[in-house]
Subunit: 125 residues, 2 copies
DNA sequence: ATCCGTTATGTATATCTTTGCATAACGAAA
DNA sequence: TTTCGTTATGCAAAGATATACATAACGGAT
């Protein structure tokens, strides 16, 4: 280690959280809903999706409903009944949203990482 | 208005929130603490700062203490007593942090705005 | 016609966060 | 040495969020 040791190491992490909101400010889509949609896409049902994401069915269902109501369109085609009980399938708009959101997150991850490096440099100087 | 009207306008806003945390994840500095520090710098006391920022003294004090404990150094020189009761003045490290944070926020504001434009374009296509 | 497991939703419970007192400690200035 | 307004901190109360539980509705497959 260098002359001054690690005395002024800036040992903190930079975190961020994204969400989409309506003009009036209510929350719509956060990372949580994003991963929920990914899981629904994979598993084919909301219930199954909640089991892997860890949130309660009640909340996941509410979040999804909220998101759809504020976006103004459905994110999943929902069917009830049948031997399997029913299923949830992403709409084409949901697919589009997932794609767009993934690109956005990647872009911002990069920006945050770079900003963090600069922050750190400043704080350690 | 154009041929298809505004039917697929993506009428949502992109929001984000930044915070610094310790390695183990506890929150340290959020925008709230940042504006609190700005206000302290301006007003010279924590109490006065809470009056303009709107948070309760109890919480502001706790947040500040938490931030200092996790950073490992003081963000304010605190004095009690005197006709004026006491005061809080930013440390040099706090000044440095404010500067760095402001730069960081500006950078990310730009990145988010750009990312939002792309998101919007994708969602409206 | 019956069954099954999922969607759908209300309500009560618990958990987490913030606020609101209350009250002590402090110490420079008058 | 008394005074004043701030820092400092515990604890109860209030608010906000999330979870848990209960229960209905549904309808394709058997």
């Amino acid at each position: 280690m260098g002359k001054r040791g690690k005395s002024n190491r800036f040992n903190v992490l930079l975190n961020y959280k994204l969400w989409l909101s309506s003009m009036s400010g209510e929350g719509i889509i956060s990372g949580e809903v994003y991963t929920l949609l990914l899981e629904i896409k994979d598993k084919g049902s909301l219930k199954a999706a909640t089991e892997t994401t860890g949130l309660s069915y009640r909340k996941a269902w509410g979040d999804l409903k909220n998101a759809e109501s504020l976006l103004g369109y459905e994110l999943t085609h929902k069917t009830r009944g049948g031997k399997d009980g029913g299923r949830s399938v992403l709409t084409s708009q949901a697919h589009k949203l997932l794609e767009a959101y993934a690109a956005l997150e990647e872009k911002l991850d990069d920006a945050v990482e770079e900003a963090y490096r600069e922050l750190k440099k400043k704080m350690e100087s």
